[in-house]
Symmetry: C2
Subunit: 390 residues, 2 copies
């Protein structure tokens, strides 16, 4: 169950020769309507790839009919030629959709573009544009899984999701890696729904969902130039859910995809949930969770099956969050190895042999909680990220 599970969407994935592996590398998602409302969230990185700059412009119009995605090249740090290439790709998608037996009469301004791969190199347009033509021909109501496959880079499995509403649903595909491990491989997510929903309702749902899910996975603190999350609504179900229902379904879909991303993070041997409890504010809870998730000494300790709570406390000490060092408790897989800032239960009781690790940090400052998901720092991480482009 995937991006084409909601009514009103077709998708495809083809091999255009962008990837040296010869695997599929161009994906297309088309919204057949009747509606074509959209919402999007983009990277906070100030160095933005050409397709991000393009898609941000396109979304200002409030309508997106098609999304074209490629792996095999990020089209980031490619100057004005890179932007012209993105524009040409969108033009080509629109022209190919117009030149069909059942034409879809749209322009380049209705086409969002996403790219992922190495930074700093121009896309081979002579391969990409024929790939787009082929992707248009392959469009199908069952094409979601092929699209999911075509956007993979260092992913080892394709990521799909489907969340059922009452007479409507939300589907999605994802690749990578947002702020996860793979060598700046972008997080690209496209979500679809056949609910009837205006752009504003979609935007509300999507921002809440990314805040609670994608923004809370963090494998190495690195932010891509290309991160993009799009939510397209076709209205084909004729059902207009409440904002609450819509948001809940989009949050559920994004949570599922986020967990698929973290589970597939490059070089990870641990899937780590950091639960920050008793914070004075949600912002404090997120800050504390994130600083632990990004701490290389905590991450290497967990790789070594070492419940090193001292490194966790030292990480917390670098935040601005409200806390008193002598009131913090730390639990690792249910064993409270630190109480009141000092050693408590015997650390040898902690079982870290499994892949799943839960770290609990109780600040005893208030009622707010947040969970950040991350991975360990392993030899495989170093290997894959030192060998990626050479």
């Amino acid at each position: 169950m995937t991006i084409t599970s909601p009514k009103g969407f077709r998708a495809s994935g083809v091999a255009a020769g962008l990837k040296s592996s010869g695997g599929p590398d161009v994906a297309l998602v088309v919204n057949d309507g009747p509606d074509a409302t959209v919402a999007g969230v983009f990277t906070g990185n100030r160095v933005k790839a050409a397709p991000v700059l393009w898609s941000q412009q396109v979304l200002k119009g409030g309508i997106v009919r098609a999304v074209v995605l490629n792996s095999g090249g990020a089209n980031a740090c490619t100057g004005t030629q890179g932007f012209r290439d993105t524009h040409a790709t969108a033009e080509h998608v629109a022209a190919a959709l117009r030149n069909q037996p059942k034409p879809i009469l749209i322009g380049a301004g209705d086409v969002a573009v996403c790219s992922t791969g190495l930074i700093g190199e121009l896309l081979p347009m002579g391969k990409l544009l024929p790939g787009v033509t082929a992707a248009v021909k392959e469009l199908d109501k069952t094409g979601g899984p092929k699209a999911a496959e075509a956007i993979m880079t260092t992913d080892t499995v394709a990521k799909n999701v489907h969340v059922q509403g009452n007479g409507w649903s939300v589907g999605g595909i994802a690749k990578g890696a947002g702020m996860l491990a793979p060598a700046l491989a972008t997080m690209l997510v496209v979500l679809t729904t056949d609910a009837v929903a205006g752009s504003e309702a979609l935007d509300t749902a999507l921002r809440e969902a990314t805040r609670l899910t994608f923004d809370r996975i963090d494998a190495d603190g690195c932010m891509s130039t290309n991160d993009t999350v799009l939510l397209l609504a076709s209205g084909a179900s004729d059902v207009q859910p409440s904002q609450e229902e819509l948001t809940a379904a989009v949050v559920a879909a994004c949570h599922d995809l986020a967990q698929q991303l973290i589970a597939d993070a490059e070089g990870a041997t641990k899937h780590i949930a950091i639960q920050v409890l008793g914070a004075a504010s949600e912002a404090d809870a997120v800050e504390v969770g994130r600083v632990i998730a990004r701490n290389n000494l905590v991450k290497t300790a967990l790789f070594g099956n070492d419940p090193n709570w001292g490194r966790i406390l030292a990480a917390v000490g670098t935040t601005q969050a409200a806390f008193a060092p002598d009131r913090i408790d730390v639990g690792v897989n249910g064993v409270w190895v630190c109480r009141g800032g000092s050693a408590a239960e015997d650390r040898s009781k902690v079982d870290l042999k499994g892949r799943d690790v839960t770290i609990q940090v109780h600040l005893h400052e208030g009622e707010m909680d947040a969970t950040i998901w991350t991975t360990d720092l392993s030899h495989a991480y170093v290997h894959e990220n030192s060998a990626y482009s050479t």
Copy 2:
């Protein structure tokens, strides 16, 4: 040439059995005067070890006659008992110095304490206190190198320095690792001078020196609970240098020690200088340099001999510094692989085989420069930090 090179200081280093290796682990530095002025800089971590809390109190009195340092245990996250142990150590130093053939009549409040090692465990006081007694007996005007050796943890070489002034000088010892690699091993630095200088002049010199040196080395962004830098002045030279002369000598001594630290960072295969040029402010230059230095994808790329300027640009994009993505130039070992935010000289021209790497990032926003020194992220880093405490 070391901490006992300036006139008026004695030091020692002995093995008290705190380290499982049996190596020297207790160091003592005594200021025989006539002056006993002091300045100190301590960790910014809000989780502070007991000896940091103690020494901060001691320095408020403006007089420090002795510094006792131990490896083999950080005495951090050890609660009230940990603080009592630090107090008892200082008392023991003062008592032992009073009970000598040539007594030094001081109290615990004249003794600074520094500890380094694992967090969260109480120090074995039954071993430490006899070690202090022995260290007092071993005090000698040539004892600096022994003190430098006794504070080593994961250091592979002892760090000493001596900078000559005009009739006076600055000496020092260091261990670890401030914000460097070794598993939260603390940066401990003790500097001595026989210049005549008040606490305020020492403080001015020391803050400027740490700002320009220790605060600009950054191997993994991790901040210890125990970091301490002390500067003691004996006045034994009878020479009172100008503030400018004093600051210059202290900066030179700290720069030398900082480079020794980064050169000895655990698991590093590269010694990397990140020069940020043309920044609008010094703060911008430091922020940009630091964010590059902490980026795991940049660090793994350099471990892999890959001049991956795209990762550098993506790191810069996460800062708040003034810059335009299409005006940044990036040079790696003298080859400008990126000009104006896009690919420039052929990256295959970059020779990364050596240990020393210079990265230049030109922002073209102003006249301010700063250099941050760091290391790569290697398999050895992961190994040493995942195996440290288990």
